[in-house]
């Protein structure tokens, strides 16, 4: 493990860059995914069709293909940015489809009878949404949404492999190819870096799940 300890500062830098990718992509994909989910459950047919198209496109395409598309397709449309931008954008587009489906399934899990019951005891529409439908939907959304987000944490490694530079993966690449360290210890170091993110996130998710769980 000594190669890892010798280059600990590089690993810390890489870890922080990976963390920045993750935070930006998390905020972006949650916002975009919620918007697409709103499209998919809206009463407006073109928006619904667009949402369906979006989800079936990005859910069925490998993240690597989405990333290549962003990096090679968008410049043709006149959008020229850094690889960091394209990498994070690709990750956001890809993850938004999964976020959308998690949210939509949560909303659909509330049975229509709940809303009918709310209306029949005299709550008006916004009250029934606020007190009856949304609290239940949000709780059901937590576990699937959490696992989507943790999967996104792991997918950030693909963005690194794609060539963002400076993240955990690139640290491993630099150390093995440019400085001639052996692959195994260096990439175990990279793996530990990711475990430092995903294991606490998984534990946190379990705590939250237990807190919001409802008996049905």
């Amino acid at each position: 493990m000594s190669p890892v300890i010798e280059n600990l500062d590089l690993y810390v830098d890489g870890f922080l860059t990976s963390l920045s990718i993750i935070v930006v992509a998390m905020v972006g994909s949650l916002l975009l995914g919620t918007l697409i989910a709103a499209f998919r459950v809206s009463p407006v047919p073109p928006l619904r069709a667009f949402g369906t198209f979006w989800v079936s496109t990005f859910r069925n395409t490998p993240l690597s293909v989405v990333l290549f598309f962003c990096a090679f397709g968008l410049p043709e449309l006149g959008i020229n940015r850094t690889f960091y931008f394209f990498g994070v954008l690709g990750l956001i587009l890809y993850t938004s489809a999964f976020v959308c489906e998690a949210i939509r399934s949560g909303i659909n899990s509330v049975s229509a009878g709940q809303a009918e019951a709310a209306r029949s005891i005299g709550l008006n529409f916004s009250q029934s949404l606020r007190f009856v439908v949304l609290p239940q939907a949000l709780r059901t959304v937590v576990p699937p949404l959490g696992s989507v987000i943790i999967a996104m944490f792991k997918n950030s490694a693909v963005v690194g492999a794609f060539g963002v530079g400076g993240d955990l993966w690139s640290t491993g690449q630099t150390l093995t190819s440019a400085r001639g360290y052996e692959t195994l210890p260096i990439f175990i170091g990279v793996a530990i870096g990711f475990l430092l993110i995903t294991l606490p996130a998984g534990a946190l998710l379990q705590v939250i799940e237990r807190k919001v769980a409802i008996a049905r």
Binding site: S42, V65, N108, S111, P144, A161, L184, T198
Partner: protein, 298 residues
């Protein structure tokens, strides 16, 4: 309006219907405008020229057969890798799940640790380690049919997916009514026999949709090898076409469409199987559908 929408909004009156109609027109116009803008931009860059598209869509083109030969080989390799990795993951995952279910409370702690570690690692890191570091560690895979990179990829994908299946199998077995195991033991079967003859076959039936959905994930993940080494799967084949013909947008479009076609079909198959099961007797016997979480965030 179908039933699911009525939770979010009421049956629409005349005012709301008018608003929806306006929204429909405006939404459609905005979407069409964006599409037209993109198409114009692409056309302005000459992206619709037959020179770029020809080898992919025009059977008369001199390169057409060559290009589709390369793509076809890529599809075969992608599917082959996905199926082999999938089979190994299901088999090993089942073994892990059975071990976890039959071990005592303390003996299963190291196993849970292994499962958690593999679940927390990015699959691309695992693939990289298996392709690049296994030979360094003295594991020689090049003698196997398919070669070193193929088996490195398979082992990487299997390491990642086997623990996911272990969880799926465990959930499947746990979702069966306790009476199934009790009845099996009462008829004189041993613990192992009860697991093998009574519990696992039922669990697998419930799990089938989850297995098919995970196949989509594995299929997509085979493309990650492009960052690690040379293996002629679909995306890598696309890249080599682009190196020769210099048409990234066109080739990536075709590659993406092929992935979407395969994965969408598999996804629909999973839904169909799940719907069929929900109607069938298994679901009734076990008290409902959706017992095994179909997790598709990868």
């Amino acid at each position: 309006m179908s039933q699911q929408e009525t939770v979010l909004f009421d049956a629409q009156g005349p005012k709301a219907r008018r608003r929806t109609a306006i929204g429909t027109v405006v939404g459609a116009l905005v979407l069409i405008a964006v599409a037209v803008l993109v198409v114009l931009r692409l056309a302005g860059q000459g992206q619709f020229s037959m020179e770029l598209w020809g080898p992919l869509i025009n059977p008369g083109n001199e390169n057409f057969e060559l290009v589709w030969g390369v793509i076809g080989e890529g599809i075969v390799n992608t599917i082959k890798a996905a199926l082999v990795a999938m089979t190994l993951s299901v088999v090993i995952g089942t073994l892990i799940a059975v071990a976890r279910l039959s071990l005592g409370r303390y003996a299963r702690i190291p196993l849970i640790g292994v499962v958690e570690v593999f679940r927390g690692l990015p699959v691309v890191v695992l693939v990289y380690l298996c392709v690049r570091a296994l030979p360094d560690a003295g594991v020689d895979l090049s003698g196997l049919p398919g070669g070193q990179v193929f088996w490195g990829l398979i082992i990487g994908l299997t390491a990642y997916n086997m623990v996911i299946f272990a969880e799926v199998v465990r959930a499947g077995v746990a979702s069966l009514p306790r009476g199934q195991r009790e009845a099996a033991l009462a008829t004189g079967l041993t613990n192992g026999q009860a697991m093998r003859i009574i519990l696992l076959p039922q669990a697998f039936r419930i799990m089938l949709p989850a297995i098919i959905s995970q196949l989509v994930v594995v299929l997509k993940d085979t493309s990650l090898v492009v960052f690690v080494a040379n293996f002629d799967e679909l995306l890598s084949q696309g890249e080599s076409i682009i190196r020769n013909l210099d048409n990234p947008i066109q080739t990536f479009t075709v590659v993406a469409l092929l992935y979407i076609a395969i994965n969408y079909t598999l996804g629909r198959l999973a839904q169909w199987v799940q719907a069929r099961q929900a109607r069938g007797s298994t679901a009734k016997a076990t008290g409902g559908d959706d017992l095994v979480p179909v997790r598709d965030g990868a």
